[in-house]
């Protein structure tokens, strides 16, 4: 009655939103623990406590959940990244800002991640391949390519460089969240230094 209903806020709508999120959260965990391919829809729904059929009220398949997870990740990280690009005066400060933003995001996210994976399993080195990280990577990659194109690092092969920067951030980030305490600053220092030094050493022959 006195609801200032910008959004539907009935109990039903609330439950719906909660369930949708619960499935997403469960999927995030299960993808992390078992890997996208290995896990089943049942694994996901079991963790939510919802009934099997309820999954299909929200998503049509495991893949659709994956996409939704990507979207969510992108939706959360992209604004951060965009802000950094706007603020950063030069390439170096952008790199640092981006890396720190990403590491912050990672530290925030990693809760259930990569930790409890059964170590005896011959998992094909699926490092941090999470849907959300995929989305984030795309953002970062685009930013880097653009930066390069703008002349920041003259002559360097933009595709190779973007791939390399992302790879470094990903792998060092994974190491970072595995350590205690999680040291964002230290890891970022390392990565930024490596990238900056590396870019300087690059052959000046573009693509």
């Amino acid at each position: 009655m006195s609801q200032v209903a910008y959004l539907p806020v009935g109990k039903r709508e609330q439950t719906k939103v909660q369930n949708r999120q619960a499935i997403l959260d469960a999927a995030r965990e299960v993808f992390g623990e078992l890997g996208y391919e290995a896990c089943t829809v049942r694994d996901i729904i079991r963790r939510t406590g919802l009934a099997a059929g309820t999954f299909y009220n929200y998503y049509r398949s495991k893949e659709e959940v994956y996409v939704a997870l990507s979207d969510e990740g992108a939706r959360r990280f992209t604004p951060l990244l965009k802000a950094q690009r706007a603020q950063s005066a030069d390439w170096e400060s952008f790199v640092r800002a981006a890396i720190e933003a990403y590491f912050g995001f990672l530290a925030d996210e990693h809760k259930s991640w990569l930790a409890r994976r059964p170590p005896d399993e011959p998992h094909p080195h699926v490092h941090g391949e999470t849907p959300e990280m995929a989305a984030v990577f795309n953002e970062v990659r685009e930013a880097i390519v653009e930066e390069i194109a703008r002349g920041g690092t003259p002559g360097a092969d933009p595709d190779y460089l973007a791939a390399a920067c992302i790879a470094i951030a990903r792998e060092v980030g994974e190491k970072m969240v595995a350590r205690r305490p999680i040291d964002i600053k230290g890891a970022a220092d390392f990565v930024v230094a490596l990238i900056q030094g590396g870019v300087k050493g690059l052959p000046k022959t573009g693509v």
Copy 2:
């Protein structure tokens, strides 16, 4: 150990060896095309032309094939790497040699599957991870960590650095094999320069 393959090579034995290899080859292809988790034993055996039951005369499961493939990869690559490390006078030449060896292996390996993949299938799919590549990676990583530990790059965090080097090689390698023509020299130049420059820029505060 001193087995120099003076193994029985009667007709029976030959077939056995051939079948074992055929399964391995088929698995390599299928892992590449569908991914380890997504593919089935039937996918593998179908490609060999053998009967379903025959698979189990050679391997107990898909996982066992994975391990066998990893072993094969390691067996092929380790000697190369060891030789490089023995020959290389300094860190730089070792890095170059290792990278080139790895890229050569990659280019060799990827003749087949990168092309074949149906491009209209954007399924979430762990990118081209073959057990053999994983094995090679592990070898390289071990070598780098060892090199670093031995003082090659004073003060740098060895774990981070190894992770970063591996990551760079992997990602740039993947880009490399996606281009035509495959330019091992160019890619290796890029990676080596990036790593060398990066190492120089590193903070001197080890773990």
Copy 3:
């Protein structure tokens, strides 16, 4: 009996009647399009725009809807048929009247669904059987059996003859509604001539 529909017609009641009818109409369509067995309660209710749960305020199951639809058909057709039998002086005029009544009903009924059916779907599917058609058939059959029993066609096996007449009417009727324009007169002429001629040719040995 003497219910001349002096029923409550308040707003509430009207909606109830409307909904009940809407479900019936939707079911008629869906039964025609998908077949009784193949269609689901959701298929029916979806077409009404009502909520899933509302279905159960009116009918307890798909089967109950089927029965209701049959009743409706019978209720509509029986009076017509009775009137024809009362008016018709002889067997021939009764047959003609009954056939024309049935064909009229058919043409009326099939406005909707025969057209809509996707023609690329050759699924094994019981041909256009609507509960209302079934009800009409039962009425006609009963009338014919009665007529035969009364001596209209001396000696003919009444059961066989009723079955045959019904069958002819049904199949030719189906053909008729599939043609454009729908020619009730022509089809009725054909059927009546066939039946009249056929009856004349029948062996005079009843059951």
Copy 4:
């Protein structure tokens, strides 16, 4: 060894053929008892005593079984029908031969048919709608249309007539097999007389 193997006759092949036929037989029964739409793959496979998965070694779906059943029916009846058409001098003897062939087939087939259907079910009058009968009907229809086209019954609407003849045969046939003893001759006499007389009475205005 001394197998004069025109066909594979190993125990395996034999079992395969038997299983395939067992599934077909089970499906025939189940289609008859529950109707095509209502019955499930499980209903079919349960009756064979085979495992659930085994069904899919032979057929991909219920529909495929349906088609196979149709094929089987057509394969058995068509030669009979063709022979009759070749032998029959005129339209009348062809009709009689065809009807008798069909009724013979029906009497042969009906074993499990139409009998045990639960009578309380509001089955949409799926009279003899068996896949095999569908196949047979198609054959008959084709023969009749051809006969008509050839001038046998000048001017009659071939489509209507074919539909009517088939309908008569179907319905009377159904009645016939429901009686004891099954009197093929009597039923055929009735049908032939009806058709012959009916054709004579037909208006001479063709399509």
